[in-house]
Structure formats: C-alpha cells, structure tokens
C-alpha cells in the first residue's frame, strides 16, 4: 500500500475489515470475479511459465522485470546471504522437537534477529538492504527446521543451485529431479504475493510503527501460521489423504455437503471464481503425482474439487491454492506439518514489497474500537 495514499472516505465494510479499501498499491491486482492475478501487470500464468523465483521476487520488490545484469546482481546478493548465524541453528537444541515446526522456525528467526547486521537502522536505505538477507536466511533456517523434525542436521547450501532448488536440496539432502524443482518453483512464483491478506496486513501494521523489515516479516509469519491461513494447506491435504480412492471421496463429500460441512482449501474471501493459482499448479500436481505412482491422489483431488465446486460454485466457493500445494509437496518428501513453510518463504516477498511501498510516507496504522460495555460503574 502506498503510504501517502488516502483511502476513500466514507466507506462501508464488514467485520474483519471486509470490503475496506485501505489505500493504493502498485504491486498486484487481484480480480476475484474473473480469477486474474497479476504482479506489477504480469499475469501469474505468464510468470510461472516463463520466469524464475529470483526474477519474480525482483519484479515484485522493484516493480520491473530485471535486466540480465540486474538479475545477476540480485542472484549473487541472494547467494551471499545463504549462511545465517550459527546461533540461529543452535537454538533448535533449546526447544523440544515435539513443538510445531513453524514455532521452531519462528524461534530460529527471533534468534537470527539478535544477530542481524545494523539492527537498529530503520532508514529507508537500510530497509532496502534487508529483503535479500531475509529471503535467503529464512530459506536456510526453514530447511534446517524441517530436517530437525527427523533429527537430521542442517545441510550446507549448494551455490550452484537457484533459490528453489537450493531450498529443496537443503531440506531433503539430495537434489530432486528437474521436474520437481520446476513444480516447486512454480508454487513459489504463484504464491509470492497476494495483496493485503491478513499476514501482509499484519506486516504492514508493524512496519507502520517504524520497526525493521525483519520484525514485520515475523508478524506476517505469525498470522500465516494460523489454521485459517497458511495452516489450511496442511488441513486440506490431511482431508484428502484420508481417502483410499475417488469413489470414497465422492461419497463422503456428497454426505458432507448435505451436512453443510466446511472444507479446508475451498472458498476464499477474495475469489468468487476459480483461483488462478490453482489453475497454474494443477498441471504440475498431476504430473508429479503420476510420476510417483500416486494417480489415485490426483483422482481424489479432482473428485473432491468437482463435487464441491458443482454444489457450492454458484455460491462462489471454489478450490483455493491451499487445496493443491500439499499434493505437490508431499511426493517431494516434505513432511505434512511443514507444508505452510514454502508458502511462507514465497509470500514474504509480497509482505516486504508492501512494507517498502508503504514506508516512505506511511502513517502509523491505528484503527479504533467501539466500546460496547457498561457505563461507568465507579
């Protein structure tokens, strides 16, 4: 949100600030009626098919597609920060392994934030030096947090690999096949920015206090950890993994629809039509599942999707991105409780772009609360 921009006034909005326009942005455009999502004017389908996560993160942050030289600089800046402070890794030994992986990852980030360069410098220049470090540090720390779930040590980065491939390598300990890297990178690209969703808004409130960009990202991560947000891809996958075949999924879904059940991974505050991120990822999910001999899981997904969309589509409920990412991540070897992590790594790009867009003139964000309690009782 452009900090100096004035929101329209007056406005009508619902609980959860639904429908409230908070100001202007140049970062992304979401059309929830036709199902289009563009970053800086480029559709995610175009970016997913023709670009890399590095180039897309540059585009989201800087506003333009990088030239070859700019991309080279950005890639080397990202590689430069692939080795976070040792203390952040060591903090894993101080927390129980049964804690949620996102909570362990959160602790690594808070410890890393105690070792960050120029921590108290919140000039605009210093804030702009932070995105590369945040993207690369979080990638390495997230990989270590995931390995720690199985009691495995962290893996050194491989500087021959790009962002997506290196994350998978540091997480899995092996370089996955190209088509899996490709699918994973596609999931990062289509989830790299999504307007003022709750996590981006939380980050924006924090940056509006004059805090550093790392603090804003921590707040966004907290929001994303919630079951209504990033945690939804885990819940959606667990729902689908409970079925043995498509017929069983179809029968259960019909009965559940009759009971008015709410399905994780379906329905979205903004999209009242098919989610463009789902359309971009479906071909990748189908390909990866088939290559792993998991056709039945693809069939379960499509059965569920078709049943729910034909019953609830007229009410604007369609599969959202959380319904599909778990299907991609699971065959690659990512543990289910870690599914929110790749989403988090990707979408923090958008949070940082919104914060940097807001910073130059943005006032502190402080809405009001209406008192509905008793009158003075003194």
């Amino acid at each position: 949100m452009i900090g100096g921009s004035q929101a329209p006034s007056p406005q009508t909005y619902a609980r959860g600030l639904e429908g409230l326009i908070t100001g202007d942005t140049r970062i992304s455009d979401i059309d929830g009626l036709t199902g289009r999502l563009t970053y800086r004017g480029y559709s995610i389908a175009d970016l997913e098919a023709n670009s890399s996560f590095e180039a897309v993160s540059y585009l989201i942050l800087q506003g333009e597609v990088p030239t070859a030289a700019q991309l080279e600089d950005w890639q080397s800046e990202l590689r430069r920060w692939r080795r976070p402070p040792r203390a952040a890794f060591d903090s894993l030994a101080r927390v129980p392994r049964r804690a949620h992986p996102l909570a362990q990852y959160r602790t690594m980030l808070t410890v890393a934030a105690c070792h960050t360069p120029e921590p108290e410098n919140t000039t605009l220049d210093a804030q702009w030096r932070r995105p590369a470090r945040i993207l690369s540090w979080t990638s390495a720390l997230a990989a270590a947090a995931i390995r720690h779930l199985d009691g495995l040590d962290a893996v050194e980065p491989n500087d021959e690999l790009g962002f997506a491939a290196n994350f998978l390598y540091q997480t899995l300990g092996v370089i996955p096949p190209d088509d899996e890297i490709r699918a994973f990178e596609a999931s990062l690209i289509v989830q790299a920015e999504h307007g003022l969703h709750a996590a981006a808004f939380a980050a924006l409130v924090v940056i509006s206090t004059g805090a550093d960009l790392g603090s804003a990202v921590l707040a966004g991560m907290g929001a994303l950890s919630g079951a209504r947000h990033g945690g939804a891809n885990q819940l959606a996958f667990e729902m689908m993994a409970g079925f043995e075949n498509a017929d069983q999924a179809r029968t259960w879904t019909r009965a559940a629809l009759g009971r008015g059940h709410r399905f994780p991974g379906f329905g979205h505050r903004v999209y009242k039509c098919p989610d463009p991120r789902v359309r971009a990822l479906e071909p990748h999910a189908e390909r990866i599942l088939r290559s792993h001999g998991l056709e039945h899981r693809w069939e379960i997904y499509t059965a569920l999707r078709d049943e729910i969309e034909s019953a609830l589509g007229p009410k604007g409920i369609y599969a959202n991105v959380d319904s599909i990412t778990g299907l991609l991540y699971h065959p690659m070897g990512l543990p289910v409780s870690a599914f929110p992590i790749p989403f988090c790594l990707a979408i923090q790009t958008g949070w940082m772009a919104h914060c940097l867009e807001y910073l130059p003139d943005g006032p502190m964000i402080e809405p009001g609360a209406v008192y509905v309690g008793s009158a003075d009782s003194s």
Binding site: A7, R15, L17, E18, I21, G23, D24, T25, R26, R40, G41, S43, D46, N50, A87, D90, S91, V95, P96, R98, A99, H100, P101, A103, R106, L109, C114, E120, T122, G195, L196, A198, F201, V205, V206, S208, T209, G210, A211, S215, L218, A219, A223, S225, G226, A227, H229, V270, S337, P363, M364, E366, P367, G368, A369, V370, Y371, V372, S374, S378
Partner: protein, 406 residues
C-alpha cells in the same frame, strides 16, 4: 436495523464522536482517515478511551482510581476476566496463582537467552525468549484454539519473568531469585537491580503497569488481533505484538525522552532547549498523541510519582528537569493542541527504578500484555479473518518480453 448504518455514515473522525454504542450491526459505514483512523476494527467491553476528555476506563472504572487502589495483578484480572478481586475472591486467588507460577522458566529458555549477546536490544532478547517458551508450552498436536484462557494468562507472567531475566543478563548478573509469593512487580525489580525492592518502588512499578495496561488498538494489540484472526497460537500473537512494540513511533519513545532529559544541564535552560528543538523542526519527545489533543490525565498521576521517587533516590534534579521541560514545552506546544503524554514521565521513572533506556519498552511490555491478552481473548469469540483491500494503481496488464502469449 442493519440498513440504518448503510445509509448513515458514522462521523468517526469528528472529535465529538465518542466511540460508544449499545452494539454494532455490521456492516458499518464510517469515515476513514490517515492510518485507518476512524475505522471500527472491533467492539470491546474491556476499555474505553473518551476522545473528548482522554479519560481512560477499564471495564467502566477510571484508570486513575485503579492506579491508586489496586495492584497490577488485580487490574490484569479485571481486564482479562471482567471481575474485580473482591467480587470473586477464590477466582482471583486462582488467577493470581496461575500468573505467578508461570514465571518458572525452563532451563533451556534461560540458556537460549544467556547464549545471546547481552548488548542485543532487550526487546529482541524478550521476543526470542517468548518464542522459545511457546515451543515448550505447546506441541504440534495441541488444539490451538483449546484452553486459551489459562495459556494466554500464563503469557503475562511469562513476559514478566523473561523481562527480569533479560535485565539480569544485560547487567551481567545471575537469574533473579524470587518466590511464589512475590508479585510480578517484585520479581521484575529483583531482575533490575539484584535486590529485594523497597515496597514503595514496587508500588510505583505496579502503578505504571496499571496506567499502561490497555490503550485501545495500539500497534502491538492490533497486530496481535490480526494474527489471532488467523487462529494462530497465542505465542505467535505475542511475538508479533512484541515486533510492533518499539518502532520509533511506538514503545521506542521512552528512549528518546531520556536522551532529551540528559541533554539538559540545568532546569533553568529548559526554555532554551525547547526553543532549539522546535526551531530545528524536531518533535519534543514525550509530547503529542494522535488519539486526542488534550492533556493525558494519566500524566498527573505519574508526575506525582516521579516527584516522590526522585526524592527517595536523592535525585530531585531529575524531577526538576522534567518538570521544567514540560512547562516550557506546554507553553510552546499547547496552542497547537500538542500536550505532554505518558511516556514523558514514565521514562525517567523506569530509569530511577534501575532500567536503562533500552529496557524501557520491555518494562512497558509487561503492563501492555495484560490489555493485549484481554482484548484479543475477547475478540476471539466473534473474530473474522482480517483482510482489507487495496486499490490497484500500477501498470496495466502486460506480457513478459519473449513470452509467446499470456
């Protein structure tokens, strides 16, 4: 009834709009100002800040009354549970036991803090500590929405324990030693200077926390509410809230107040100092508040407390300097509607209690956590995912160079 609000714009930006209602029938139509001022983000029974007088009440009771008559723990109970100790003695007793017993930190959490450089900004140490504690409190199998009441209540005591630990680490001392019958204020003061505090000092810290406990949807509280709306566990909420605690526009203010105070060599130079700061286009630290344009009634309470504390510490010049700057700055700024705020006197009080400037936001955090927990818990009953919109004014649709078609 719903229709009424759709056609009637609530004049929320008007100074005479008093932010009270029997209830809100969503959706609402309101004015929208800078930084979302005027926007109604939630309803609350916890506290009310009267924009016309800047009077603050918790559950209907004026905060000055509570500051005089009640301890911080009693006020935390009032904010969180809605009842005063005398109306439910067994309930209060259980509440206080929970609050105090949550101060036992796992050795791993103490170890994590002690491994960090003591010169790190203390709010960062506190945030790392609360995050690690959350890992010890909740496991991957926990129902994140269950049993919230006691868990979040524990956080208030846990923040106090961590602040004592961080203060001791910063001063190069061992972990503070205190017993289950010591109040939160006593244990934090032990962390601050290593000694059992004078009861008068405990009283001052309690009073400060009472005055700071809740103040509407300030940035830490509103951040936590947004995070809570996603159904995140309470430790994610508090880590996020602490991240919004000390931007220069938020809790960081107390550091600037102390710098300003120490730049004054004697009270009689206050006029000159104030004129120089204003002529340089800089703000006077500890002055101005965006919610209201009149003197904050909490200041009178703190001014008195600073006078007494400075006297006890044989440091009367601190009060004299602060008072001189206040008088000079009021004279210059009051005509513009800019008045002294609570940080102006809280900062030197924190200083005299043994906290260096950087610890100010941590001390503030203990008090504010009570209000934050109360407001977030209350909102959890009806909360919807907070997701506003922005208006796209960027480039029209385009295609990547070299891509066939998009």
């Amino acid at each position: 009834m719903r229709y009424k609000y759709l056609v009637t714009t609530l004049p929320t930006l008007s100074p005479s709009f008093d932010w009270r209602a029997e209830r809100i029938d969503w959706p609402v139509r309101t004015e929208v100002g800078r930084g979302l001022s005027g926007v109604i983000a939630t309803t609350t029974e916890v506290m009310w800040l009267d924009p016309a007088s800047a009077n603050l009440t918790y559950r209907g009771i004026p905060v000055e009354t509570l500051a005089t008559d009640n301890s911080f723990e009693e006020v935390a109970s009032l904010l969180i549970t809605g009842s005063m100790p005398e109306s439910d003695p067994p309930g209060y007793s259980a509440f206080r036991d929970q609050l105090r017993s949550s101060r036992t930190l796992p050795s791993d959490v103490i170890g994590l803090i002690r491994d960090l450089d003591p010169k790190t900004h203390p709010t960062r140490l506190l945030r790392a500590g609360i995050s690690a504690l959350g890992c010890h409190e909740l496991s991957v199998d926990d129902d994140l929405s269950g049993d919230r009441h006691w868990r979040e209540l524990r956080i208030v005591g846990q923040v106090a324990a961590l602040v004592g630990e961080v203060a001791a680490h910063r001063a190069g001392r061992a972990s503070p030693v205190f017993g289950p019958s010591d109040s939160l204020a006593e244990s934090v003061l032990i962390g601050l200077d290593g000694h059992r505090p004078d009861p008068a000092d405990t009283r001052v810290l309690d009073l400060l926390w009472v005055l700071y406990a809740a103040h509407g949807l300030d940035a830490p509280t509103f951040t936590s509410m947004v995070v809570a709306s996603c159904l995140a566990d309470p430790y994610f909420n508090v880590v996020a809230g602490l991240s919004a605690l000390r931007g220069p526009r938020q809790g960081g203010a107390s550091e600037a107040v102390l710098d300003q105070l120490s730049s004054l060599d004697r009270p009689s130079s206050a006029d000159r100092l104030v004129r120089r700061i204003i002529a340089g286009g800089e703000p006077i630290a500890g002055f101005g508040h965006r919610s209201y344009r009149m003197p904050d009634p909490r200041v009178a309470v703190l001014r008195r407390e600073l006078a007494g504390l400075a006297e006890r510490r044989a440091r009367p010049e601190i009060f004299a300097s602060a008072r001189a700057i206040e008088i000079a700055a009021e004279a210059a700024l009051a005509p513009r509607g800019i008045h002294v705020n609570i940080n102006f006197y809280a900062a030197p009080i924190f200083h005299l209690l043994g906290a260096d400037a950087a610890l100010g936001p941590c001390l503030f955090a203990v008090g504010r956590t009570a209000g934050l927990v109360a407001l977030v818990r209350e909102a959890m009953d009806t909360i919807r995912l907070v997701r506003p919109l922005s208006r796209y004014v960027g480039p029209p649709e385009r295609t990547l160079p070299g891509s066939g078609s998009a």
